[in-house]
C-alpha cells in the first residue's frame, strides 16, 4: 500500500506540476462560463432582422404597431387578404420573413396567426407576440371600454397560468433539464478520456524509457498500476473540483454582476413591467423575459448539490472502469504508436456512450435506454441524463443499481487489467494482438 501511495504521489506531483494542468484548470471552466454567458445573452437567437408583413384587410390596426421603433423588426401593412400559398410563393412577398394575419374576427376570438418561413427564435416570438398584443390591446380598449390605454394598463393584472404534470410538478422531465444531465455526463467522459490518455502515456513512457524495470524491482505490477490510476485519478479529481469551484463562483458572479436584474423579483413585478412597456419598449425588458428560461434553469431548477454528488461518484467509478482499460492497453502495447492505435476502439466506445446519453435524452422511455442505463460503458452519461430528468417515484433504486453494476464491473476490469499489466509490462517491440492478450490473460 505504501508503495502504491508513493507511485500515486509521484504521478500526482507530475500532473499537478505540469503547465497544462494549470491551463486546463483555468481555461476549461472559463470556456464553459463563456458558453453559459453566451447562452444567457443570446440563447436561441436565430435571424437578427425580421421583415414582417401584417395582413390587415379590415384596417383594425390602422397601420400602427409600435410606440418606439424596434430595429430588429420592420413591419409592413397590407390591407388585402393574402392567401398562405400566395405569401409562400409569390415573388413580391419573398422579402418578408413572416406574415401576421389579422382578420376581422380577431377582436372576438382573440386569435391571430403568424406564418413564418424560418422558425423565429424564442426571443423573436416574444417580441412579435408582444407588439401585436399591445397594439390589439389598444384597439380593444378603445372599442370596448371608456378607459384610456394607460388607465387600462394600470388596472390590468395578467395572470400567469403554468401547466404542470401532477407527477412532475417541477417539470423535471423537460428536455432542457435533460441537456444539463447530458452536459454533466459529457464532462465525465471528457475527463475520463483526458486522464485515461494520461494513464496510457504514463505507462508507455515508463516502458519506453525503461524505468519500469527499476520500479518493478521494488513494487508489484498491480501496486504500480493501482498507484498510477489512483495518482492520476486524484489529479483528475482535483482538476474536476477546481472546475466545479471556478464554474460555481463564475455563475455566482454572472448572477450578481452581469444579470442582476434578471433574477431580481422587483424587476419581475408585472405592474412595473407593463408600466415600462407603456413608456418604452426597450430591448432590455424583452431580454428579461426570454433569459428567464436559461437563467431559471441554471440558477433555480438544476439541483446542483444532488447532481454534483452523483456526478463525482459516477466520475470516480467510471474513471476506474475506463482507466483500467487505458492502463492495460499501455502495458500490453509494444510501442507508443501501437498503443495509440489500440486506443481507437476505446474512443469509439466513449463516443458511443455519449450517443447513448443523447438517445436517453430523446427517448427517455425506450427499453434500450434502460439497458444503457445499466451498461457500465454507457451508464455514467445515461444516469446523469436520467437523474436530471428525474426518476419516477419508487425508481430511485435504479440509480444505485447502476452505480453498483459499474463498481462491480470496475473491480472486474481492474483485475483483468492487472493481469495484462503484469504479463505485458516487460514486453517490448511486439504488436498488440488479441491472441497475445488472451495468452497473457490466462497466465497467472
Amino acid at each position: 500500500m505504501r508503495n502504491s501511495w508513493l507511485i500515486a504521489r509521484r504521478e500526482l506531483k507530475e500532473r499537478i506540476g505540469a503547465r497544462s494542468f494549470l491551463l486546463f484548470s483555468i481555461f476549461g471552466p472559463l470556456l464553459i462560463l463563456v458558453g453559459a454567458y453566451l447562452l444567457f445573452a443570446f440563447g436561441g437567437e436565430g435571424k437578427q432582422r425580421w421583415n414582417v408583413l401584417i395582413s390587415d384587410p379590415t384596417g383594425i390596426m390602422d397601420a400602427k404597431i409600435l410606440a418606439n421603433e424596434d430595429k430588429s423588426i420592420t413591419y409592413s401593412f397590407a390591407n388585402d387578404y393574402i392567401e398562405l400559398e400566395e405569401f409562400r410563393d409569390a415573388k413580391q412577398f419573398q422579402p418578408f420573413d413572416a406574415m401576421i394575419e389579422i382578420n376581422e374576427k380577431v377582436l372576438s376570438n382573440k386569435t391571430a396567426f403568424i406564418f413564418f418561413r424560418e422558425k423565429p427564435s424564442v426571443r423573436m416570438q416574444t417580441r412579435l407576440q408582444f407588439h401585436i398584443e399591445r397594439r390589439l390591446e389598444e384597439v380593444m380598449v378603445a372599442e370596448f371600454t371608456n378607459l384610456s390605454v394607460s388607465a387600462f394598463r394600470k388596472i390590468k393584472q395578467p395572470l400567469n397560468i403554468a401547466f404542470r404534470n401532477a407527477y412532475d410538478p417541477l417539470d423535471e422531465a423537460s428536455d432542457l433539464r435533460g441537456w444539463v444531465g447530458f452536459f454533466f455526463g459529457a464532462v465525465i467522459f471528457l475527463f475520463i478520456f483526458l486522464f485515461g490518455m494520461t494513464i496510457l502515456r504514463s505507462v508507455t513512457l515508463e516502458k519506453s524509457n525503461r524505468i519500469i524495470e527499476v520500479l518493478l524491482a521494488s513494487v508489484r505490477p498491480n501496486q504500480l498500476m493501482a498507484g498510477k490510476i489512483i495518482g492520476i485519478g486524484i489529479a483528475a479529481f482535483i482538476q474536476f473540483s477546481i472546475w466545479i469551484v471556478v464554474i460555481g463562483v463564475g455563475l455566482y458572479f454572472l448572477r450578481e454582476t452581469l444579470f442582476p436584474d434578471l433574477l431580481d423579483a422587483a424587476n419581475m413585478n408585472v405592474a412595473q413591467m407593463t408600466e415600462e412597456v407603456k413608456q418604452q419598449t426597450n430591448d432590455y425588458f424583452f431580454a428579461t423575459k426570454e433569459y428567464n428560461e436559461f437563467v431559471d434553469l441554471v440558477y433555480e431548477r438544476v439541483q446542483f448539490g444532488t447532481m454534483t454528488a452523483y456526478f463525482l461518484l459516477f466520475f470516480v467509478v467510471g474513471y476506474l472502469f475506463y482507466g483500467a482499460f487505458f492502463a492495460a492497453i499501455g502495458a500490453t502495447s509494444g510501442s507508443e504508436s501501437d498503443g495509440q492505435q489500440f486506443i481507437l476502439p476505446i474512443i469509439f466506445i466513449l463516443c458511443f456512450a455519449l450517443y447513448a446519453g443523447y438517445f436517453a435524452l430523446e427517448n427517455p422511455e425506450s427499453s434500450l435506454v434502460s439497458f444503457f442505463h445499466y451498461l457500465p460503458f454507457t451508464s455514467p452519461v445515461v444516469v446523469m441524463v436520467k437523474l436530471s430528468q428525474g426518476y419516477a417515484p419508487g425508481q430511485g433504486y435504479q440509480l444505485f443499481l447502476s452505480l453498483f453494476i459499474l463498481l462491480i464491473s470496475a473491480i472486474f476490469v481492474l483485475f483483468i487489467a492487472g493481469r495484462l499489466y503484469k504479463n505485458g509490462i516487460l514486453q517490448y517491440g511486439h504488436r498488440i494482438k488479441l491472441s497475445l492478450m488472451w495468452k497473457w490473460l490466462k497466465k497467472m
Partner: protein, 309 residues
C-alpha cells in the same frame, strides 16, 4: 548470501533458462557472464522477483526469497531509465522511499553520494539537463542509496568514460570491503578479471562454467610462457632450437621484445631459461594465463577453437 537452485524459465515455447543453479557467497563480487540472449537478464529478473521462475527456487540468507527481501537488494538494470522531468533529488526521494527508506534517510544518503562523486550541484537539476554519463551516475546513486546488502548490477560500466569506469570500479571494491555482495553482469571482461572473485558463464540458457577467476584461467591455460628480453630476435629463435616453439611475438623497440613460447616434449620453464640465458638479456618471464575475454570466446564459440586446432 544468495542461492539459486535449479531455476528454469520459458517464454511461450522458448526456453530462457535451463536448470540454473548458482551460489553467491556473502562479500564477494560475482561475475555473471554470457553472450547476448543467453538468459542473464531473465535470471536477474527472477532474483528481483520481477518475473517468476517456472521451476526452482531462490534463497537469500537461507530463506526463500519474498517481496520483503527486495529492500536488501539494489538493482541496476541494463536498460535503465529515469523520469526526464524530475530533479535528481526528487528521483532519489522517489526510488529511495520505494526501497523502504524514510525521506530524511534518503536526503542524508543522497548528500553523502553527491559529495562523494563531487556532484553536489546536480541536486536540483532535472534529468533532461544531464548528459548520458551524468544520468548513469544518478542511476548508480539511486541503486545504492538504501545501502543494500546485495547489489545486482547489469552492465554498470556501459556509457561511462574511462575515468568514471575507474571510479565505479573503485566504489564496487570499496563496497565489497564493507561486506556487500555484488553480482556483476557485464561484457567488459577486463573489469571481470580486475574486480570479480568468481564468475559463471551462461550460454544458450545453460550454465556452462562457474568458478574462481584465477581457477578458470588456470584451467584453460595452454602452457605458454612470455619472455620479455633485450637482444636479437634471431639469437632468441636460435636458442629455442627444437625444444621450444615460438607462438607469438611483440616488438617493443629496436632490440626489445616480448615473445610467447610453448614447450615441446618434456622441457620445462627452467630448461627454457637455461637455453636463453647468455643469448639474450631476459628482463621478465611469466606464465601466460588466458584472459577472461579468451575464455569467454572459447566457451561460447568453440568452432573457433576447432578451426584453430
Amino acid at each position: 548470501m544468495l542461492e539459486i537452485q535449479h531455476v528454469s524459465k520459458s517464454f511461450l515455447r522458448n526456453l530462457a533458462l535451463d536448470d540454473i543453479s548458482l551460489r553467491i557467497e556473502a562479500g564477494e563480487i560475482f561475475g555473471l557472464l554470457g553472450p547476448n540472449g543467453a538468459g542473464k537478464t531473465t535470471l536477474i529478473r527472477i532474483v528481483n522477483r520481477i518475473i517468476e521462475a517456472d521451476n526452482g527456487s531462490v534463497r537469500i540468507n537461507g530463506d526463500l526469497m519474498t517481496q520483503q527481501h527486495l529492500s536488501m537488494i539494489g538493482y541496476l538494470p541494463e536498460e535503465r531509465g529515469l523520469y526526464r522531468t524530475m530533479t535528481v533529488e526528487d528521483h532519489a526521494l522517489f526510488l529511495g522511499q520505494l526501497r523502504g527508506l524514510s525521506k530524511k534517510d534518503v536526503k542524508t544518503q543522497l548528500e553523502y553520494w553527491l559529495e562523494k562523486f563531487n556532484i553536489a550541484d546536480w541536486r536540483k537539476k532535472r534529468i533532461e539537463e544531464l548528459s548520458k554519463g551524468m544520468a548513469q551516475k544518478v542511476q548508480f546513486i539511486c541503486t545504492v542509496l538504501h545501502e543494500p546488502k546485495l547489489l545486482i548490477l547489469d552492465e554498470p560500466l556501459s556509457g561511462f568514460d574511462p575515468v568514471n569506469i575507474e571510479l565505479i570500479k573503485q566504489e564496487l571494491l570499496e563496497m565489497k570491503a564493507k561486506g556487500k555482495t555484488i553480482i556483476l553482469s557485464t561484457h567488459n571482461m577486463k573489469s571481470v578479471e580486475e574486480i570479480c572473485d568468481r564468475a559463471a558463464l551462461i550460454h544458450q540458457s545453460k550454465k556452462i562454467m562457474e568458478g574462481r577467476i584465477s581457477e578458470i584461467q588456470e584451467a584453460r591455460k595452454t602452457g605458454e610462457f612470455a619472455i620479455k628480453f633485450r637482444g636479437s630476435m634471431i639469437a632468441f629463435v636460435t636458442a629455442l632450437w627444437t625444444s621450444f616453439e615460438l607462438t607469438d611475438k611483440e616488438i617493443l623497440g629496436d632490440d626489445k621484445f616480448i615473445a610467447r613460447v610453448k614447450m615441446r616434449g618434456d622441457n620445462s620453464f627452467e630448461d627454457l631459461l637455461k637455453a636463453l640465458i647468455g643469448q639474450v638479456k631476459i628482463e621478465a618471464a611469466w606464465e601466460v594465463l588466458p584472459s577472461m575475454q579468451d575464455v569467454f570466446i572459447d566457451l561460447v564459440n568453440p568452432r573457433k577453437e576447432a578451426n584453430n586446432a
